[in-house]
Point group: C2
Chain length 802, copies 2
């Protein structure tokens, strides 16, 4: 693990890109992750076009399609009823990047000869990966090779590549090969954290059904063995020759790959350029019979437009994105770069077709099997909700698409009514092979409801609510009624038994505070929603009622359960206990635990960890953030103080939450410290695991640490409020939020905070406790940045919160 | 499932044997279990010699060697540190029973032709399985075929078979084949209860290394693939011809089998007889290089003795056994037969070589992988302890042999000191793939200690204690100190966190009452033992201290923890709560649950079951039995009343415990009812699962239900006490107990109870509250059987206990 760099090396950082100046084998696996390009549908790890053999184990040259998976049966040596049956894992699909060339049989190979110059630039602003290499072969042939790669945001099924070779001193024949390589296999990882490739079936999972090879168009049609999903992958190549001369053009084809081969006569000084378009069309999006035709027409259209137009489209899409999503930091380029890198990766990873979402490692690695978890709604969705709300909606539509499977799962779990979302899944089926830290995390239904509630409050998108959201909220609310009960021993409070909260270092508990508090929100919102819809959209409400067989008395029961919800509070410590038995366990001595024994589960059996008061991540503290209007500042601070001392932050979801709450309760140094652990988590490989993919939740959480943390944004009850302060390490920060169809800019400087209504007519919100009303385009209001808010010692409490 | 038969059909039952009068295909699988013969080392399911093909799936013709296993890696889709790595499973070994014959090419086959007479007798008194068949072939050839099978108790490595053919009307050539069939495979079961054949590797697990075939001796040498255990199996045949004439004698051999073939000319009326000796020698007992030679000498010795001598040895061994172990029931033959059947199977199943013990299904099936559980010490050992204490000692020596593996396991579980026994194992390694109902059952170390304590008290075997027992008790005691802590919130009581008690329908709890109470016993006994040994055997004590690196302060700490042990008691209900959170869960509505939904885990996810107050088996109630001197009668009754209503008895370990405690608290009808559920559990296939093997724990528990239940025997502090009463369904019962080298007979009649000292000089014990002292051989004392003890209504409480 490396420390995050956020306070030094402020100069020489390009805040709009990540660059690499040296060809370093041992860094390659990490760089492949960082340089991954994607568009939410496709994802290409940042491997070299040439598949240099010298990397051996330092490469993982994989290509992914969001939601395109194979499945396998989960095997249990001791099985039991209702255990998740099926593992799903995101597949490595044919590699369309492949380009190699040889000059008179001497291959272009960075592991041989001399590298005169090397650089790569991963450009967040333009959405491309560029490489430039000046190289001399062992025999003395010199070439300048440039490539540019774009995974198109505007054409989700495809990517494009431009590959330029300038011969500095070579005259002779260049053999240029461009392949679509179907010899792809999947790997199983033995590493629990990246795991669940652990459930992947090692080896070849795609069966070749058909191969097409015409002069310009090559395609492969594959099908998965068990999930029976089909995929057409295809490529087209076009060549700019300049003064060079095409001698021969041929198609080669091995058993699993297609390739186009060009023999070109070049003279010293000549430049040739190959443009390549590659597309992937799957049966999750289109009828199987159409796949190859659609591949052909997609590539034909791209070719007609040309590479330059694709690049323009890409830049224009990203211009629009950054205009609304960018956070500008004054005076800290490392943070600036980290934030943009994170937001760019979030944008690249998120599905937006209504049947995919955002995986734990996005489209940059197969860790966690490419599964969607609660992280999607709880950590990634807020960024989209306030920056690109149409994507947030699509993420929630994805959950709607899983309702059928979730109802089946609820029956399997003996719930007579309702829908229970899978803890981890791609297609909707529960894929959690370790249920204590999987299926038992019932809070996922409340997390999704929370996202729906906030989506609706921030967008007022009635159509979504009526068409998708309400059905999810109402049908999942019923699950609480089945797993909870009114407990005479607890004053007839509504108790929820046998669940696991977000902190997976304690499992199968009664009355997990987070779960109960979120269930309370869920039940209350569901009851109110039923009432609201009955009045406002009676026809739709009847339709939903019919669909889920909702009886008239259910909403009342939900309301009662919400009112009587048991929210444990310990008088002695004046904190919320994490669950019924948490406080009577020993505390783990974190200070006495050497760094190499973290994360704990890699060195201790779960039983050992579960025996202690020790948290993997924010649990109760997360509840005090998400449901912040339900708790006093004193409660928040007491909970923070207690749980911080026993939290390992072994989860990448932890730092950002602690940062936000440290901001709220006034521990400004800590807030910044946790923020730094998160903002460059992947760039600096803080957890040592970024080689296997980025940490999507931390990326989203970093955005939250700025917006909800430093700027103190909350949206309780559909009204924005801010309590901005300035981290001492910065000079200023500025960001925009989309809210109810309007666009608000918040610029925080050392002297003043300025709110500007960039789009929209009128917006009312709070600055600290002051209500601000902006009317008319570009209306703005300015407040002084309070001096005391610059103070930042661990014990400083912000005055206005006292 | 069938109801147990215990009150009808009293006549026509042979109380010394189980017989079968009809050839019934659909009963075959069950009969194979019931008719299994074994000697604690070998086990042969009661299949027919001829391996008739007509049985198809209704046979499971397996042969087992106690402790002879293959291993496989346990695969977890989501794995974690410290999870059990290896599954071990008892193997199906070469089948040496095989005999077939043909008369002029017409095979003897009960699925063809006509059965004129058929019977089998499974004889508990003589230890043999006899079959007699009178059969006419389709072509009209009639034969009377008799076989007798003996698995020798006196020669543990072998069994013998006599196979007699009388030709009634056939004159011609009989081809008689006797094979040792090495084409054995293992099966995987999908049925969780018989399970862990679930972890078995399907298919061939024995690799043939060598085959020997001389005129009289045929042998196979196998090795397992992964556990690398070797096995020599061998057979010898000898033929009695009478008037018949041997035409040809040949050895045949297929790739995996050896066979001797005899062609015999017979005339109508002739009788021929094949005697067969088969032995199995494994590398768990002898050096690998000696296996084949030992097989040869074992068979040579047997042949020299001859079949008749073997049968005599067998009868004599069993005579001695029954003399000390028999329970004689007056007036209920079904119960009498059931008890003897159970005790015979216990004797047949238990290992007695110091490196094996008794598996959950004995040597009658591969269910539960042939693993040893706590059942061995807690349910089977008491029978041996008081009937054949030398076997109880060997069972405990087996645990000693596992100390090395148990120490390794303790380190894996982060315990810096001490030994942690595997929840389920053959070789000592933890094989539990579902740790919440496996590894988490830490009570196993206390259960084994309890057995050692009682073994020592009942035998005063100092040598065992010093050589084996003390080291186990002391080294395992330390585990409690690591998983427990003094909890300020519980008045600084010693609390034990994150364990599972015997009731597997609640897991991973804090302060499981059973576990805490047993741990208290364990810690106290360990501390006392250390003190005692230090004084009485200082040299040995120093040796043990050195071996386990015991520090001087440890025993004091154990004593303090025992004194401060937290034993939860609920004032409101006046019961011991099963654990810290048990009483605040919903109660499962057992009355509303239809019979077909039991056992619950076959129809509900564990999470559902864990959410309720519902018990698979006696848990707290078991503690009130085992540690009965620690609780008042009122406490016992209150606990019984509470837990009985929420117990499903899905475990075969439950009925006997409830029967014992029903006897103690005075629910005599219930005591007898639970006893009936247990005494013929396999004979009547009460749980529907006996086809896959007998229920060893229930067999031992049945003995306890009589001795500890009806006769009220306890041995608190090494002193016997009795409180006998007479179940109304019986006229009398009589049994003997070995205690401190003496033999006491207890005869209970309707009028009087008579105690007789059969062996030994003097014994002091209690009858009810009266101290009885018997001095001199055959000294006896008689007490009236109190009239009120015959009362038996569900609510009757025995007066002397009030």
């Amino acid at each position: 693990m490396s420390p995050a760099k956020t306070d030094d090396q402020k100069s020489s950082i390009d805040v709009w890109q990540l660059s690499e100046e040296k060809f370093e084998v041992e860094e390659n696996l990490l760089r492949e992750t960082l340089f991954s390009l994607g568009n939410g549908h496709l994802g290409l790890r940042g491997a070299h076009e040439e598949r240099f053999r010298g990397f051996s184990n330092n490469t993982n040259d994989h290509t992914f399609i969001n939601g395109f998976y194979e499945s396998s049966l989960i095997h249990y040596t001791e099985t039991a009823y209702g255990m998740a049956k099926e593992h799903q894992f995101m597949l490595n699909v044919p590699n369309g990047k492949c380009i190699t060339f040889a000059a008179d049989k001497e291959n272009f190979d960075l592991f041989k000869g001399t590298i005169n110059h090397y650089d790569r630039k991963f450009d967040f602003q333009k959405g491309s990966l560029l490489r430039k290499v000046d190289w001399t072969s062992e025999a003395g042939k010199q070439f300048v090779v440039k490539s540019k790669r774009v995974v198109s945001f505007t054409r989700p099924d495809m990517f494009a590549l431009e590959y330029e070779i300038k011969s500095v001193n070579f005259t002779g024949i260049i053999t240029l090969r461009s392949a679509l390589d179907g010899r792809v296999e999947d790997e199983e990882s033995g590493e629990p954290r990246y795991g669940p490739a652990v459930g992947a079936v090692q080896g070849v999972n795609l069966i070749l059904l058909e191969k097409k090879q015409t002069e310009d168009f090559s395609a492969l049609l594959h099908q998965t063995k068990r999930s029976k999903l089909s995929l057409a992958s295809a490529q087209e190549n076009s060549l700019y020759l300049g003064n060079a001369k095409l001698i021969e053009k041929d198609s080669a084809s091995s058993s699993e790959s297609v390739e186009q081969v060009f023999k070109i006569e070049v003279k010293a000084g000549d430049t040739i350029r190959l443009t390549k378009f590659v597309c992937y069309i799957t049966s999750r999006d289109y009828p199987e019979a159409e796949l190859l035709d659609r591949a052909k027409s997609t590539l034909a259209a791209a070719r007609k437009s040309g590479f330059a137009i694709l690049c323009e489209e890409q830049e224009s899409y990203l211009n629009e994105f950054w205009k609304r999503a960018d956070i500008e930091i004054g005076g800290n380029d490392l943070v600036q770069q980290g934030l943009r890198f994170n937001q760019f990766h979030l944008l690249q990873s998120v599905g937006r077709d209504g049947h995919t979402s955002i995986a734990a490692k996005g489209l940059t690695g197969e860790g966690y099997g490419g599964h969607y978890f609660w992280d999607a709604e709880s950590y990634a969705l807020p960024f989209f909700l306030y920056s690109k709300p149409e994507i947030a909606r699509k993420m929630l539509e994805y959950r709607y698409s899983c309702l059928g499977e979730s109802r089946k799962r609820a029956r399997e779990m003996s719930h007579p009514k309702g829908a229970l979302f899978a803890w981890r899944t791609i297609g909707g089926e529960e894929c959690s092979a370790y249920y204590p830290a999987g299926t038992a995390q019932y809070h996922i239904i409340a997390d999704i409801t929370y996202a729906i509630k906030h989506y609706f409050e921030a967008t007022e998108d009635e159509e979504f609510l009526v068409k998708y959201g309400a059905e999810i909220v109402l049908d999942t609310a019923r699950i609480w009624m089945d797993i909870g009960h009114y407990e005479p021993r607890k004053n007839n409070a509504f108790c929820i038994d046998m669940v696991t909260g977000p902190d997976e270092y304690t499992v199968l508990v009664d009355n997990n505070f987070y779960t109960n508090a979120m269930a309370q929100m869920h039940l209350k919102f569901a009851a109110e929603l039923a009432k609201k819809l009955k009045a406002s959209s009676p026809t739709d409400f009847e339709r939903i009622k019919d669909t889920i067989e909702l009886t008239d008395d259910e909403p009342e029961k939900w309301l009662k359960a919400a009112e009587k919800m048991y929210l444990p509070f310990d008088e002695q410590l004046a904190i919320h206990p994490q669950d019924d038995t948490f406080l009577s366990k020993k505390k783990w001595d974190l200070k006495a635990t050497p760094p190499q024994l973290f994360p704990l589960p890699l060195h201790h059996h779960y039983l050992v960890i579960y025996r202690y008061q020790v948290c993997k991540q924010a649990d109760t503290v997360l509840a005090t953030f998400l449901l912040g209007d339900k708790f006093t500042m004193k409660e928040k601070k007491q909970d923070y103080d207690y749980y911080e001392t026993i939290t390992t932050h072994d989860s990448s979801l932890s730092h950002c939450t602690y940062s936000i709450m440290a901001s709220e309760v006034g521990y400004l140094d800590k807030a910044y410290h946790y923020f730094t652990q998160s903002v460059r988590m992947d760039l600096d490989n803080v957890h040592g695991s970024s080689s296997y993919g980025v940490h999507i939740a931390a990326m989203g959480g970093t955005w939250m640490a700025v917006i909800n943390g430093f700027a103190g944004m909350r949206a309780y009850g559909g009204k924005l409020q801010f309590a901005p302060y300035m981290p001492t390490a910065w000079d200023s920060y500025k960001f925009k939020l989309s809210f109810k169809g309007q666009l608000l800019e918040i610029a925080v400087g050392k002297e003043e905070v300025k709110y500007t209504l960039i789009e929209g007519d009128a917006l009312t919100f709070n600055h600290h406790k002051i209500e601000v009303k902006l009317k008319g385009a570009n209306a703005s209001q300015t407040f002084p940045t309070k001096a005391q808010e610059l103070a930042s010692t661990a014990s400083t409490k912000r005055k206005d919160d006292a």
